[in-house]
Symmetry: C3
Subunit: 266 residues, 3 copies
């Protein structure tokens, strides 16, 4: 099924109208905040991971998201079942290869998942550089490389997978291998709250249920940027930023997304 081209405002309107059931196979750290992120934005999260049912569930979900943050063999099996089922029925899916370079085990599972061609691949610059075979100075889960350094790697991965690649950081870029969009905004407090990036991955899945992949990735980034700036205005630290961000996600209207220009195409 082809999803329509949509501006961020149009995508948010569609998301709230559809409340798409989004199957999130994510890490233990992210589960609660990711579910609250989707509920606040207007989507319907479901955390269903075990191989005994992840494929069955992927057939009824409208999008699937995979994040390898707290990987283990049983979870990897569930991820693969879900991805195969999603592909079989044409459901979009998103891959977040958290720190895939940190161990050979993690790297191997990521290769297996990537071979199934995610609709959207989201990572920080270090993850995207390393996936494309480049050098990275990263050690753990944090990006040590600037986003723009990952542009060629992102374009290459997009062409290789036939999907969209999003590289997130101080600025974000999204490419389908041909087009390139840069998204600006957000708050320096965002990386001080754990698992917001993982939650963004899940939200990209929800948007991919209602909009074309590149537009879905952009819409999620624009909504996060807008909500992040709102939350920062009154936050006194990472603790108050966390709940203010959820309030902002729920309060932002489609019209709000049209007020600040955030997306540059090139």
């Amino acid at each position: 099924m082809t999803r329509p081209a949509a501006s961020p405002a149009e995508a948010l309107t569609s998301l709230r109208a559809a409340a798409p059931l989004t199957q999130c196979i994510t890490n233990y750290v992210a589960m609660n905040i990711a579910a609250n992120t989707l509920l606040a934005a207007g989507a319907a999260p479901a955390m269903v991971h075990t191989a005994e049912e992840s494929g069955d569930f992927a057939r009824i979900a409208r999008a699937v998201t995979i994040n390898i943050g707290t990987l283990s063999p049983a979870w990897a099996a569930g991820m693969l079942s879900a991805v195969q089922a999603a592909n079989a029925v044409g459901t979009p899916w998103v891959l977040d290869p958290v720190a895939h370079f940190a161990s050979s085990y993690r790297a191997g599972v990521t290769r297996d998942l990537l071979a199934h061609r995610p609709t959207i691949l989201r990572g920080n610059a270090s993850e995207i550089l390393a996936l494309a075979g480049g050098d990275t100075t990263a050690r753990g889960v944090d990006a040590a490389d600037p986003v723009m350094a990952a542009e060629p790697a992102a374009r290459q991965l997009a062409r290789d997978t036939g999907g969209v690649v999003a590289v997130t950081g101080t600025v974000d870029l999204v490419t389908d291998g041909t087009r390139l969009a840069t998204i600006r905004g957000g708050s320096p407090l965002m990386p001080r709250v754990t698992a917001l990036g993982c939650s963004l991955t899940c939200l990209m899945g929800s948007f991919a249920a209602v909009a074309a992949p590149m537009d879905a990735a952009i819409a999620a980034l624009v909504l996060f940027a807008e909500a992040g700036e709102r939350a920062e205005r009154e936050a006194e630290g990472p603790g108050s930023f966390g709940w203010r961000f959820l309030d902002a996600l729920a309060a932002v209207t489609p019209d709000d997304l049209t007020r600040t220009p955030r997306v540059t195409w090139s």
Copy 2:
């Protein structure tokens, strides 16, 4: 052991005096907020799930609660061990069959658990209707059916299990197959915060340690309704509702539960 009949106010007084050790085998999304819910209300949560010790622990806990939200085979085995131990020593236990109709795997585990006759069965209308063999329009974890439509199914399940059945939604109903209580109150923000329903299941367990099953289910619902209304008064969205709800759970006194009539018997 038979627990005494108790009004919600009496049950809350007993809960805070006893701080009953409540073994919660719940899903990954709910674990943190469920533990904080029990601590705020005055109970003592313990998340102990693996089959290697879940039965041992159920013998020292004063209540056990089971929630299949993020089910997998190892967890299902731990749930069954805990339930069998609880039954062997007469400890009350609560079952929350989250989206049991979403896969045949989930349905099978739910049947196995239900066969051990939960002291309290809690679900949304779609879950209760489907358990009793009725039709549901639900797809994922959200209830698509109105609470009152599940009344006959709830009564039948209560008679079949010999326990109490609670159906929660915009209004809540509790039945032991003969008596029926309806509970009103709460806030529309409650379903916008993930895992509050799962946390309610755990709290019903804590109350079931100090009060008769039907009174325990009602007390948990009345406390949630009162705390939800208080939290909503100053909340600006789902993020601020979340922490205000915990503050309210801790602040509510037994007397507060007598001020607003919430329970209707029929």
Copy 3:
């Protein structure tokens, strides 16, 4: 590698300069709040647990922390791999034997871990007493014994393991078997928020990456005491305390740790 002696203020300065990568193998309840605690304080958390990679990751981490709260066999294997790798490369590691006396399974895993001689062992009085072979009146995850009653047990365990033992409660004590420090402060709301003790364990690991073990344990306790008092000043309950505590952890400066005398040596 020997880490330098450091006052709490010096240790906090070092922690924020180094942002040490801290591998936390902790329980499901604690994962999110522990990661947020480390990020707020200035460290870099990574939750990597499975035996397929936990040893590899421990070789690149600057500290490892182990908490058995929601133990299962696969996780116990991952814990042992991480601990063995940490010891092999001289990386400090911290053990938090949550409720180890609650089942024979839990007790056995704790014995295996303890035999690898943790750099820092942190527990409540009941856990430390029971580890040293003494009597405890505890039943679940809460300490039922006063901290000072555990002083002889703590000294003995420190001598047996060659490490540092921290006993936490209304007051805290830290010993290396010879020296003894008592730390005062904090808030009665801290035990009303789940997993703050587990988060403290993780933070002790981060400090142990930049300071000598006894100084690391003390620095974490002093920072928690200072942040806890700040958070309590404006908190209206456990919900608001939770996020205010994270804001306070981020706001506290090294100088702030020198203003209130909290540590008594004996």
